[in-house]
Symmetry: D2
């Protein structure tokens, strides 16, 4: 089995490699090829040398700047690149804040600029994946929801899922709260990436939703700055933590302004991490600060289960295909899927809650307008997308913020 990793120079790479080493007994990895861009060469070298020391001779690893070399004959490809690297993310987060809007790299306007920057690269890579391989692609590149919508519904490439580390962490937390194994759980969980809703939890044949909601409520009450304790009771849903940007928009904007953007902090963490990578043989504690906990477990386990015809459930971003019956079949959703035959099959969940349905539709339409803004190089569609998003600007600010975003990303995208 050959695995290719796009964005191999990422500081996440060591964790991914650790995950791959753990599944190696099961799936017999022969080759892992890391791909990155010239601009990231220095960082890429540091990470690769560190990974080399980790892997030893467990499997062959390679480093390349040529997608053909990476994709050729690959069985699984992981997309974890950040278009424009961290400096671009800083813009994604700071431009909206200037206008009093949420500055966040996936939700709201930050996700909009990140998506516009990602689409041309995703389009190019998917073309090359199709040309050189029959690989199945697992995407972590943000904003993962937009990108999966783009690939499945617009590029019509279907060996592709969007993955996120939130579901696996959620399941882990739930299993710990209830005292069972992750495999004992089944959840009615659905939504768009970073806009998901947990509606029901079953553990060992028992509907434990109310029990868990009570536990979560108590738990939340003790975590200052977290969701308020009675949120779950009001919504009758446990939402993604990113819902705070919708429910606490003003407060979050204030917080981001005061504390500075996440991008700036990550920049500092990355520098420290790279220094540690230069000198160590095992993954440093500090990687935890980087976020993305259990990212490697999610990716490696999905590859293992795809490759071994496992018949397990993974929560991934894929086309709804009937799973949520009051959402159109073609919407890409983050939902539990049965993993078999090197494919993912959504599992029927019935109807989604009205609160969730309202938000899912408006944000999906925003996603599609964003995608079409790219595809048709349409400034109009871009403005429509911005105006539609519940966290987006009003008419007065929309053109200005769009100009700022286009200017900051002019190397990546040109609408005219």
């Amino acid at each position: 089995m050959k695995i290719a990793v796009v964005g191999g120079g990422s500081t996440y790479t060591p964790e991914l490699v650790k995950g791959l080493m753990e599944i190696n007994d099961c799936v017999k990895i022969e080759n892992v090829t890391f791909l990155d861009v010239k601009e990231a060469e220095e960082k890429f070298n540091v990470v690769f040398e560190f990974v080399k020391r980790m892997v030893k001779d467990k499997f062959k690893i390679e480093k390349t700047f040529d997608p053909k070399v990476a994709f050729d004959g690959a069985d699984y490809i992981v997309f974890q690149f950040r278009p424009g690297m961290l400096s671009a993310r800083i813009n994604d987060e700071e431009i909206p804040l200037k206008y009093g809007l949420i500055g966040q790299e996936t939700t709201g306007i930050g996700g909009f600029s990140a998506a516009l920057r990602a689409f041309p690269l995703i389009e190019k890579y998917i073309e090359l994946v199709e040309k050189y391989s029959k690989a199945f692609v697992i995407n972590f590149t943000n904003p993962s929801g937009h990108i999966t919508e783009f690939v499945l519904n617009y590029l019509k490439f279907d060996r592709f899922v969007g993955l996120c580390n939130i579901p696996i962490n959620l399941l882990k937390n739930l299993s710990e709260l209830i005292g069972c194994k992750i495999e004992d759980l089944f959840v009615k969980y659905y939504g768009l990436n970073h806009l998901t809703f947990l509606e029901k939890i079953f553990a060992k044949n028992e509907d434990v939703t109310q029990k868990i909601f009570q536990l979560l409520k108590m738990h939340l009450a003790n975590v200052p700055g977290d969701f308020p304790a009675d949120l779950i009771e009001i919504l009758e849903l446990y939402p993604s933590p990113y819902l705070r940007y919708y429910l606490f928009e003003k407060e979050m904007v204030e917080k981001l302004k005061k504390e500075g953007t996440r991008a700036k902090k990550v920049e500092k963490i990355e520098k420290d991490l790279l220094k540690l990578y230069e000198s160590s043989d095992s993954i440093p504690q500090q990687l935890m600060l980087r976020g993305g906990s259990m990212y490697s477990t999610a990716a490696a386990n999905l590859i293992k289960d795809l490759a071994t015809n496992a018949g397990t459930i993974h929560i991934v971003n894929t086309k709804n295909n009937g799973a949520v019956t009051n959402i159109p079949n073609d919407y890409v959703l983050e939902i539990p899927c049965y993993v078999k035959a090197n494919r993912v099959f959504p599992v029927s969940l019935g109807e989604a809650d009205e609160f969730a349905v309202g938000l899912i539709h408006i944000v999906k339409m925003y996603e599609r307008l964003t995608i079409e803004a790219y595809l048709y190089r349409s400034r109009k569609k871009a403005l429509k997308a911005l105006l539609l998003h519940p966290l987006g600007p009003g008419w007065q600010e929309a053109p200005k913020i769009l100009d700022d975003i286009l200017k900051a990303n002019e190397k990546f995208i040109d609408l005219s």
Copy 2:
């Protein structure tokens, strides 16, 4: 033919009566019975005496406080009552403003409190309509969208449409812009009441959409305070004027704060009007200030065309029933319908635009949560509704604003 008017003491009544007098040749009205509540008796008397002078002996008119008397044997019933009268509307508009939110009687939080106040009365009246008549009901009571959703989908009473004076004014304006008769037009127009979108216009077999959009653009450019001139070009849609609350939320809140609410102004106009009604025999010019232009034309023509099997098109609020193919069949929408057999049949329009689809879904889900808050007397659902609306409060303000609304409307609604 007997017509009943619920809210007969409204200052609109004379205009409605004028409309009925105009269709009288066609439809042979025998009796028009006006119903109102004791609290409005004084005003009701003034209006009724004025109407008596208008009608002379064209048809019989009656005044009653008893719904049985009004509905018994009625063929058409017009709902134009305002639950709680103007003083309640003042609350609808002022409470949200206190929290920096849009204060408007149909859109946003003002519509929410108006709806909660209207539901119990609507429920009671519909029960009596069913009991005493086979009448078809035409609703003008605000918020008309919520109420039609409630009646068609929750009360399951189907001889009911919601009517608004915006579509008829729009068609009149379009026909003047293009220089043709209203009957020469056909429009692809859809949405929720006060959240509608005009996507295509045909005049005498020609697609005049671009031509009209250009004319409207020029027109808009000359009307300060109106939509900006390039709005239609960006959206590729001509929206309801109420969309300004979404696109110019901040600016509109400022404007409302500065200028005072509409309710206050209307209070003043009403007083003047009533004084004029006392002394005159024909409709005073000042009624125009009251708003609701062409309201009587819309209602009277709909009654005429229903009664005469006319085969004309009216834009009304009714169940989608397949007309807009990418919106669920059961959503109540404001759409063009073929009027025949004393019924309205939506006419197939194809797909709605993505921008419109996003807003329609989120506001429809908010409408349904509001309705369910009433039906289940559920504070939870009420909060969910408030949190979901794009113009609604965040988590911090939602419980406070709900408390204020419930307190102000405690005579009408109790969630507990």
Copy 3:
């Protein structure tokens, strides 16, 4: 206005021309160009000369074998050609009978072979219509349901409706039964061409369904050989007369065997008609024997109403587009449409009856398999189509009957 008629040599042409003469005051026809094929030249000449004497100088008429000449600048095009002329129809009707199956030119296996013969010609003509005109096409060529499905869903040409003379005759009969004008009626009528169902009838705002069904029942009881009197009562539907092939399969096969096919009779009628056309100046009584009563009225009125933005209802074959809510949007159905803006807009009808739904689906799937058999030149799909049709052969006979059909039509279609 220019009108083109494909299959101008048809013996129906004079009736069509009569219809066009009747609408001429309204729509100002400038030119009617008749197109036919060389093989039909002799007949074409006779018909054209007769038509010339009819029209005099009311409008200009032309005769051509060149589609470019006919289509160039046309506003409306009528397809009324019979691919392979009557001799081919004889095969359509006789081959199935050999195998004990219904021999009929539209329903069952006769429709299958007629469709396969028509598709390549329709494909060619539609290409030329698009190339040389912006015309709207009205199709009478049989089997009209298959052909409209093919044009709208596979060729994706949308200025096209399938027309049939059954609905207009039905409405005429209903209006006579009830004693009102056709315009006073509104019907819930739906299905595939020649597989339609009348479920509700409204006359002047009254639901007269039960009254009409009782009248029809009495009427049927007096017409030997017709549907049995209690059929409508059992089905709670008044079906197309062609449903007899489904409900009386055995009896109809016997009848066809005994009486000989319709094609043979028509052949005789046509000969007589042509002789009369040679010598007369006005339409001979004998044309009534030809069938297709009111065909010209249906076509001419549709052209008139399309051209004059009339806002009337016509029953035509077009995409469902939501009108029947429990049938997919993309199925071509025969349904009432609002005619406006030179287009047809289906009018919402609600749910179809279960009996109708079952038959509509299976016959639609058969239609699509037939179309795909042509498009992919697939013998497999052709066999699947035959095996699926409720009036089709079993496994043993299917390949033989397919061979016979392909052999008889080898000039038109080759699957291999």
Copy 4:
């Protein structure tokens, strides 16, 4: 865990008990209670005594004629009763044959009379199941498709699946053909009970559809009387063996007439079996002749997997719920489901084939008309059902055959 078996006197019971003994290590059965009717007492005693000798003290077994005793506190309930016992089945099969129609107990008219006989009993039992237990019901009573449609969509009882031994045998055969374990397979399989279609087969991540179809083709070629070898190639589907009644209607009617009905044969087998049961301690070979191979495996494994939260796939009859995207959500289909949380969740399969779609719809509408004939005691609906079924009678025979069926089943059902 308590299990109840309705129809405990069935000769199948020993096999079911064997299955339960096999899963006993996993699920700890405490009590199995057998329920039957007084009319079957003699047979019931023989079977129960035999089962007693089989089970020894593995778990407690009980015998009762009182549903309350059987259902009270049950966790799983198996319906395997035959309403009217074998003598009624003989009518189901012989009445249609008199009219030259397929005489078979599930497909066609035999299924119609069996369903009408079963509905009142099912309705009564489901009421009692709800009253006395929280059990999940597994249904084998024929016709299983009709019954599951009835219970899920009309009785609105949702802890219910229809089970059939065909899928498990199919999977076993496929796994043997391809040389893998059943768990290695995933199939795109869908349809109505006894009208199913296998469209795709994956084995260990490989799409083996073409390979298997070739093997099946060779295999079929060697089995005289079986489907013809090229059937799969033409249909591009591997259908249920019951499709032969559709594709070989005439031939099957002849065969049934010549060979006599299955019911008669089963009567003989049952007598022999009961004699053997009286004297033996283990299941006699002759049970294989009875049909229903692997029935016990299917039922026992489903109970085990439901009870143990297994996360395996079982093919059962349940509501589509989006799994087949071009079939309505509410149709009960036989489809692969993920078994978890003591529930079954359909797995998304995408679109069904056109040939299958056509048949599924018409037979589903027939099923619903049959159910409604029972619910409304409507002779009309019963006739509509008979007329709609592709294997049903024409208009002339329908009333006669309905009379014969109602007469033969007058103890069970009365439509008037």
